[in-house]
């Protein structure tokens, strides 16, 4: 789960990271008031879960509170890559000497939390990685000991020659690491980490991504979720415990398991169709999930045919069959449906479906071909 810059900064401040003062505003009035409280020139920064805000005009320097009002008026409501700006962060405009990058990610390759630091900050780190990889130092942290002071200081010396700055950066990295671990992050970064002309080391922008698996036990983190900055259908799916991603095709796919779901989408494409979505109903059997999945899929007007692909292992296919029957009774389908199911309790499922006028297939390729054909016909 992404959280906003202002939220990440609030978290990091609690761990002692030096961050210029600032507050979030939802109206130009608030923005002006905050700028007045700050008492210095401010930045007004759009709070949206998308990169490239700056280039899109979502980040502006404001020398006066009046300017802050004006820029906030422009930015609030702005559309950035399909997301509407609902909030702006109004924060003291730091004097910037140098800009560095400091980030931590959970790394699949080393199976560790890995620091990435670079004196070439301020821009997309992936660009630095692609063009000048020698400018990034990677440092995997031993999870049993954490980021030790000498390690943090070594990373600090990679960024700065000056010992005071290196030490300050090291301390910030230790704070960032602690915040990362204690808040179950999969990513935490400060970019840019700035040295001011006065020699202070401060965090001017921050980003944190919380591991979705952490949210169940950490309601305080779950509370940071901003549903207004997500697609409504995806919010709906998540609240129904489904994983759903909307795409542009016309074959609506309902599958159990992420791997099989992706393989199903690939097969739709292979047979000449276009998947309308990724949707994983997950492992556990629950007719309610099927009902919700159908509701979400059919809300998409592009969908011209629905494809169920269920391989019952932990999922009981009779539960899925019952879900289909219930859902279609509540809301009769306006598009054709192709059901493929096999595995646990397959015989019962087939009987439930045929008793209710559905045909069940057992072969995946056959089912996908039929769904693509129906969608293509329906699309005409």
């Amino acid at each position: 789960m992404n959280i906003h810059e202002y939220q990440a900064k609030d978290v990091l401040r609690r761990y002692g990271v030096p961050i210029p003062p600032g507050e979030v505003a939802t109206t130009p009035d608030e923005a002006e008031a905050i700028a007045r409280r700050v008492g210095k020139p401010v930045m007004v920064k759009a709070q949206v879960h998308v990169g490239g805000r700056g280039k899109a005009g979502g980040v502006k320097f404001c020398p006066t509170p009046e300017a802050a009002r004006e820029k906030a008026t422009a930015i609030l409501g702005m559309d950035i890559k399909g997301l509407t700006v609902e909030k702006v962060l109004v924060t003291e405009a730091a004097d910037i000497g140098t800009e560095a990058y400091v980030g931590i990610i959970v790394d699949r390759a080393t199976k560790k939390a890995v620091f990435m630091v670079s004196a070439a900050g301020g821009i997309d780190i992936e660009e630095v990685a692609a063009t000048t990889p020698e400018k990034i130092k990677y440092f995997p942290v031993d999870p049993r000991f954490g980021l030790l002071p000498f390690e943090a200081q070594q990373l600090g010396f990679f960024l700065y020659q000056d010992a005071k700055q290196a030490r300050a950066a090291g301390k910030i990295m230790q704070q960032l690491y602690t915040a990362f671990v204690e808040n179950g992050c999969s990513l935490a970064e400060i970019n840019p980490l700035v040295v001011t002309p006065a020699g202070e080391v401060i965090a001017v922008d921050a980003k944190m991504v919380i591991d979705d698996n952490e949210l169940e036990r950490r309601k305080d983190l779950e509370a940071l979720r901003d549903e207004s900055s997500e697609a409504p259908s995806e919010v709906d799916a998540r609240n129904a415990n489904l994983t759903f991603i909307k795409l542009d095709g016309n074959v609506g796919c309902i599958v159990n398991g992420a791997g099989l779901a992706m393989a199903t989408m690939d097969l739709v494409k292979f047979y000449g169709g276009e998947p309308a979505n990724f949707l994983d109903i997950g492992g556990s059997s629950n007719p309610e999930k099927v009902v919700n999945a159908l509701r979400i899929i059919t809300a998409d007007e592009n969908v011209k045919a629905i494809l169920f692909n269920i391989f019952g292992g932990i999922t009981r296919t009779d539960d899925v069959a019952n879900g289909i029957v219930t859902a279609t009774k509540q809301n009769p389908l306006k598009v054709p449906i192709v059901i493929r199911l096999t595995g646990t309790n397959e015989e019962i499922a087939v009987k439930i479906l045929s008793d209710n006028g559905f045909t069940a297939l057992t072969d995946m390729d056959e089912a996908v071909k039929k769904a693509v054909q129906l969608a293509t016909e329906g699309g005409k």
Binding site: V106, D107, R108, A109, K111, K112, A113, E126, A129, A130, D142, P143, R144, V181, G184, C185, S186, D211, D212, N213, E214, E216, R217, T243, I245, L247, V255, N256, G257, A258, G259, L260, A261, M262, A263, M265, D266, L267, V268, K269, F270, P275, F278, D280, G282, G283, S284, F311, G312, G313, I314, T315, T342, G343, T344, M364, D365
Partner: protein
Amino acid sequence: MSVFIDKDTRLIVQGITGRDGSFHAKQMMEYGTQVVAGVTPGKGGQKFEGSVPVFNTVEEAVKETGANTSVIYVPPPFAADAMMEAAAAGVQFVVCITEGVPVIDMLKVRPYVIERGARLLGPNCPGAITPGQSKVGIIPGRICTPGNVGVVSRSGTLTYEVVNHLTKAGLGQSTCVGIGGDPINGTGFIDVLQAFENDPDTKVVAMMGEIGGTDEQDAAAFIKEKMTKPVVGFIAGQTAPPGRRMGHAGAIISGSSGTAAEKIDAFKAAGMGVAQRPIDFVELVRERLS
């Protein structure tokens, strides 16, 4: 022969009295797995299904039953502890089925388990099955049959799909291993490939990967350099949009690394057969078995 589990596997089920644990314990017993103990703290002294003794701790279960393998069906907040408990008790093969284990927990579990000399499979995986001998986890026993194809996969139901095709085509399996897609897990492709390479009963390997990360590329490099046995590969997620998380932690593409195209290229460069569709495994495996 086989890898990780066989007829001598003596299994503990952690969380045996829970909803998932009890269901799958029964399934494993029906399949013929030697389920020798269950663990649920506070239910020590009970019998599961009238025959399997339940203990409060894994330590006791191991001491009393000589178990060598454990499978975990406990809720996510307790899964990390369960894995470490099994490793600390001397269990050699620990399989964690639980989905949704916080990745921060896994950062510590992994070195803990490795230090104690145990092999961890998962979390968030379907487990392993050696057809006709032992099933540890949730892979449906019905779809498998003994044979010489080693199967390794990052996903669950996709594995079933492929195994089902293989079995229907008469291509039995030595062992099927689902490693799970979580970013920090215990056993990776290379570990399983090495085990198949060493296993005399495995003649060819079927491997199912996904978009995201570089595990498949690393596996391809390993196959090219270290393996004598043929491997057929598949990558799910060719149509997945970049930068989006596709349902499990494994399936995310970011930047230039982790795309399906890149992984398929790596497979080809390693001289592997590449299946375009799950059903394609049948022909590709058959060719390499003969």
